[in-house]
């Protein structure tokens, strides 16, 4: 294997794939990145066998070939190289590579490429196309609600559901739930559901661009694939039954308010500064034409009144301040529509005038003294 490449192109590709590699894997070959040259393209692959990311860049090929290089060295090394043409040359009959830059050289020992996991092949699955910027924003709106509790794997994933023209993402950690709908251009014949690991989608969100260019998503029985012109991401799906989330979305409400998102977010965050021990819970009092955010702790008290239209009965409800501000951040709207069914049941947060998104937030029981 021998090729010439530029530093920025190599950096771009390494950055794209390295999050899929676990540098402390007990299998040595899995601590590396696969370099594969065919034609005039270099394919870089990172994989922990669950998640595989492949990025390709254009290079000047002299001979084709492949090698696995350890991420611990190759990533920092390339980052520190000068921005001049770089040549990779693997020594025939060995697993080392010599990197030449200007008059200098560095050699790194790697591993045989044969044992490295390759991208799973796509058989036939349901495929859809979504503009990258739309998907990125959709993911941002739901990923905050993914659980990181590994003991309940289903909640560490995002439910991806395609039915007819509707493409839906749902995430919940049982304390809150976020749901986003998107209207596809083409209709899908067979409805599909898949639970995709939150980590995978975090990478998809990180790597997709702010462009209208489309990303294609293919859902198979055990895998999900995401691909753009220079990027392929494959991920194992999470097995299990997603909970019946539709049943828990309240259909009616007793109190509804519309307030400025920014105001309620700032108030919540200020109030949470006084509630730092244990759970930072803050009281929200909905009364005639205002929402009062308040809390009293050993440190002191705070009270902020935010004017807004309140319909229905006055209500007092407690929320975890951190959950509340994360939900508000994901709302993507200047105005919040908050619907409540009681002090001990789920609140519904919607961006005013946008039906494609909603999130649920479960309250906390009022603290006892």
């Amino acid at each position: 294997m021998k090729f010439n490449a530029s530093k920025p192109a190599l950096m771009h590709a390494i950055n794209a794939v390295q999050k899929a590699v676990s540098p402390r894997s007990p299998l040595p070959v899995l601590t590396g990145i696969l370099f594969e040259v065919t034609g005039n393209r270099l394919y870089l692959t990172g994989s922990d066998t669950e998640l595989t990311i492949q990025c390709n860049i254009e290079v000047e090929t002299e001979t084709e070939g492949a090698i696995v290089l350890p991420i611990r060295y190759i990533s920092d090394l390339v980052r520190s190289l000068p921005d001049i043409p770089i040549q990779f040359n693997s020594i025939p009959g060995s697993t080392s590579v010599i990197i030449t830059y200007g008059t200098s050289q560095v050699s790194i020992h790697g591993y045989e490429p044969e044992q490295y996991p390759r991208l799973p092949s796509i058989n036939r699955g349901t495929g859809i196309q979504v503009p990258q910027d739309e998907l990125k924003e959709m993911l941002r709106q739901v990923l905050f609600a993914v659980s990181n509790d590994e003991t309940r794997p289903v909640f560490t994933g995002v439910l991806m559901q395609v039915d007819g023209k509707q493409f839906r993402l749902v995430a919940t950690d049982t304390y809150r739930l976020a749901m986003k709908n998107y209207q596809l251009e083409e209709e899908i014949e067979q409805p599909v559901r898949a639970i995709i690991p939150g980590k995978t989608l975090g990478e998809v969100a990180r790597l997709t661009g702010n462009t209208e260019e489309k990303i294609s998503i293919i859902l198979e029985e055990n895998h999900a694939f995401f691909s753009t012109a220079d990027l392929k991401i494959a991920s194992r799906l999470i097995a299990g039954q997603y909970p019946p989330y539709e049943q828990v979305i309240p259909r009616e409400f007793v109190t509804r308010t519309r307030v400025t998102t920014r105001e309620i977010m700032d108030a919540t965050e200020r109030a949470s500064l006084l509630a730092r021990d244990g759970y930072p819970v803050v009281k929200f009092t909905l009364q005639e034409n205002s929402c009062v955010v308040s809390v009293q702790t050993q440190a002191g008290w705070i009270r902020e009144e935010i004017s807004g239209l309140v319909e229905g009965e006055p209500l007092e409800i407690w929320f975890n301040a951190r959950y509340m501000s994360e939900s508000l951040r994901a709302l993507n709207s200047d105005e919040l529509c908050l619907e409540l069914t009681g002090p001990l049941s789920a609140a519904v947060l919607r961006p005013a005038g946008d039906d494609s998104y909603l999130s649920l937030l479960l309250p906390a029981k009022p603290p006892k003294d």
Binding site: T174, Y175, N320, K365
Partner: protein, 411 residues
């Protein structure tokens, strides 16, 4: 505003309790020791009469007998001391609500606000000494100072039955000549560290450059330096002893357990730990599993949970996770310990979406109530009926759960 802090220290507490209960013991050398029958028992407390003959806390029974052949050895009765301690605390609470129990036989009082009501600190001290002597039958030493440190140091200066006032002005004259080990907060380890810096008396420490102490010992170095100068800003905190850090239980198994069997014991321990947490109103964030085999190989691993819990199911799940991660199913286990740490009290309770958590919570709460009313063995997990169960299945259940009893049984 200068504060008036008091430390009340019961003299030779355990021994005094026995002397208070039994007039025949008064004026005699009473020694409370581990187990007088066994030679390796250790002296826990000695009356002043015994101390006069050289009996000190920490001696073995054999040594104490040698020093004081006429000594009266008594086995410790902890419930008794707890009871006496509570009676004394109640008396202290008659003077001020700001009472911080410091150990079983010591308590700090903040009497700053009592002047108009009860008189000067010295008068208050006289009154409370008198009441404890009359009502409980025990003498105590009282130290009075502008902070907890000086109150504590003052109480140490005169024992038994003392009443000493230390003011900041007294510090150079009365405290500085004392060996540094006498300073509150200096244990044998720090004494050794300080000796290496040629600090032998409290005065040496007070005159030592504070920046060197800070560099050597961190914040604690500065705290000790301030202590040596008689400065201490810590408040009298009535709740300090009530702060529980962890709730745990361990059990030595009747034989070596392996794999699945350990799971059963973990269920039983998780249930007990969770129940104790719920009773105290606590929820915890860390689960600590300790395992030992019969060859003294041991292991202790902790796992932080995603949220606070007081549910046996969460604790068990985390414990199983630790077990699978760190212990082979083939390795034998002789002792299992399970603890819930990172405790917080009276947390607001976060509700969940699908109601599963609330259901489990309700179930465990109901079990608590049943156990409280009908006894520990009234309800337990079915796994406890397997051979591996330790807490419940030792004897076959003679009253089967009622839902299994279709027919009335003749007994």
């Amino acid at each position: 505003m200068s504060r008036a802090i008091m430390l009340v220290d019961m003299n030779a507490f355990f021994a005094s309790v026995h002397q208070a209960l039994d007039p025949a013991l008064r004026g005699r050398p009473v020694i409370v020791a581990g187990d007088p029958a066994r030679r390796h028992g250790v002296v826990l407390a000695a009356s002043y009469e015994a101390r006069a003959r050289g009996v000190k806390t920490g001696l073995t029974v054999a040594e104490a007998r040698l020093a004081c052949p006429g000594g009266i050895f008594i086995k410790p009765q902890h419930e008794l001391y707890v009871d006496f301690s509570a009676r004394i605390l109640r008396i202290l609470h008659d003077f001020t609500p700001l009472v911080e129990p410091f150990s079983i036989d010591e308590a700090f009082l903040d009497v700053t606000g009592c002047y108009k009501l009860l008189g000067s600190p010295v008068e208050i001290a006289r009154q409370l000494k008198e009441r404890i002597r009359r009502e409980v039958g025990i003498t105590c030493s009282v130290g009075i100072g502008p902070n907890k440190l000086l109150a504590k140091m003052a109480a140490e200066l005169q024992k038994p039955d003392g009443l000493t006032v230390l003011t900041p002005e007294d510090v150079p004259r009365r405290l500085w000549p004392l060996p540094v080990r006498e300073l509150f907060g200096v244990g044998p380890r720090y004494e050794e560290h300080l000796r290496k810096l040629n600090i032998h008396t409290i005065g040496d420490l007070a005159c030592f450059p504070v920046d060197i102490l800070k560099r050597r010992f961190g914040v604690y170095g500065e705290t000790l330096w301030l202590f040596a100068r008689g400065i201490d800003h810590s408040p009298v905190d009535p709740g300090s002893l009530k702060q529980v850090k962890s709730i745990g239980q361990q059990i030595t198994l009747p034989r070596d357990y392996r794999g699945e069997e350990i799971r059963v014991v973990l269920w039983e321990l998780a249930d007990r730990v969770a129940r104790r947490a719920r009773t105290g109103g606590y929820a915890g964030k860390t689960v600590i599993l300790s395992l030992k085999d019969s060859h003294f190989n041991w292991l202790s691993r902790r796992k932080t949970l995603p949220c606070y819990t007081s549910l046996a199911e969460d604790i068990h799940r985390a414990a199983m996770d630790l077990l699978e991660r760190h212990w082979s199913p083939r390795w034998p286990v002789r002792l299992v310990g399970l603890a819930l740490g990172g405790l917080a009290a009276r947390l607001p309770e976060q509700l969940t979406l699908f109601g599963q958590r609330e259901k489990r919570q309700k179930a465990e709460q109901v079990c608590d109530n049943i156990k409280k009313r009908y006894g520990e063995k009234a309800i337990f997990r079915a796994v406890s009926l397997t051979r591996a169960g330790v807490f419940y299945a030792a004897e076959p259940p003679d009253t089967a759960p009622s839902f299994l009893m279709k027919m009335p049984r003749d007994r």
